[in-house]
């Protein structure tokens, strides 16, 4: 038990030093080129109206946006499972879960509320 504690403590310390490994020009330039490409594609899709279906366009924009966020996290914010002994990643995962619940929950609940509170439905309910 005590042995486990000491080793994990040592690993955390070691990773803390590794987590702030010097960032490189190569890393920043890779991130920049990738994010320029990932920014240009959705703007091109919308401004030139490439896809006829707006639902498909929206989905593509969201997916590319998510990919670009990951690129920024990795190349600019230097996220890695090792930084700060994994605590930054843990905080990020926790936040993402809360964000997903808040976003999906709000959209879902309010969408159904909108549909069910339409004047026609209200009339149905009052006649029941």
């Amino acid at each position: 038990m005590s042995h486990d504690h000491t080793t994990s403590g040592h690993d955390a310390l070691h990773a803390g030093q590794e987590g702030h490994a010097p960032s490189t020009l190569r890393g920043y330039l890779t991130g920049f080129v990738l994010s320029v490409i990932l920014t240009a594609i959705p703007f091109w899709l919308v401004m030139d109206g490439v896809l006829a279906d707006s639902g498909a366009t929206a989905l593509t924009i969201l997916l590319i946006g998510a990919a670009q966020m990951v690129v920024h996290m990795v190349y600019f914010l230097h996220m890695s499972p090792r930084s700060e002994g994994g605590w930054t990643l843990l905080a990020l995962i926790f936040t993402l879960i809360i964000v997903a619940i808040a976003l999906a929950g709000s959209l879902w609940v309010m969408y159904h509320l909108n549909i069910n509170m339409m004047p026609g439905h209200l009339h149905d309910m009052s006649s029941m």
Partner: protein, 215 residues
């Protein structure tokens, strides 16, 4: 502090040291650079604020109240230029970090100034857009869509404005004290703040502007 206390107790009591050693915490209490982890957790809480504003926009984004729609209002070339400003400011901040790692004060300051100028250009364009919208009667009072739009984009702009205030402060601190460890730590924190704002902007231009003009 508590470690030594336990050690003293066990020594004074003369208990078997092998049993007590299980309760002694051997890992360091304060991880290296606790500031950076703490700042990261602040950024995550900021992320929750933006998530709420995004959720509000997601719900109200099509509630035009008979007023102008996103397709009527949004000027995508302007948004593209704005996005380019923020992206360029991100890479120039990266260059400032690289210069600071090499211990070059002048280079760090120069790239920070460039970053600040890109940030100001971003803010200027955003204020121009807001002014333009309000002038045409499309202010935050017009519809739920515009209220949520101004709340979300305005909050992001406010963050950028405070980031620039911080950046100017840091420039003075660097000028006075040079690349001391405290200033390096501040540089790291502002770097996280600045890149985080860029990540939020990805969400804004994708979710608000690009999806807003789709039919």
């Amino acid at each position: 502090m508590s470690d030594t206390h336990i050690l003293h107790d066990s020594a004074a009591g003369g208990l078997a040291a092998a049993d007590d050693s299980r309760f002694i915490v051997r890992e360091p209490h304060h991880p290296e650079n606790g500031t950076l982890l703490g700042f990261w957790i602040y950024l995550m809480s900021d992320c929750l604020i933006f998530a709420c504003l995004f959720a509000v926009y997601g719900v109200q984004g099509r509630a035009y109240a008979g007023g102008p729609t996103g397709a009527d209002l949004f000027d995508l070339p302007l948004v593209a230029v704005n996005t380019a400003m923020l992206l360029l400011s991100s890479i120039t901040y990266g260059f400032a970090m690289l210069e600071s790692q090499r211990g070059r004060l002048r280079g760090t300051q120069a790239w920070l100034v460039v970053t600040g100028l890109f940030g100001l250009a971003f803010l200027g364009l955003e204020l121009y857009e807001f002014h333009h919208l309000i002038e045409h009667g499309a202010g935050p009072w017009r519809s739920a869509f515009l209220s949520s739009f101004f709340a979300l984009v305005g909050t992001h702009g406010l963050h950028v404005a405070f980031g620039i205030v911080w950046l100017v402060t840091l420039l003075f601190q660097l000028g006075r004290h040079g690349l001391i460890p405290a200033n390096r730590r501040r540089l790291m924190c502002l770097s996280m703040f600045w890149h985080f704002l860029d990540v939020v902007w990805i969400g804004v231009f994708s979710f608000v502007y690009l999806m807003g003009v789709l039919p």
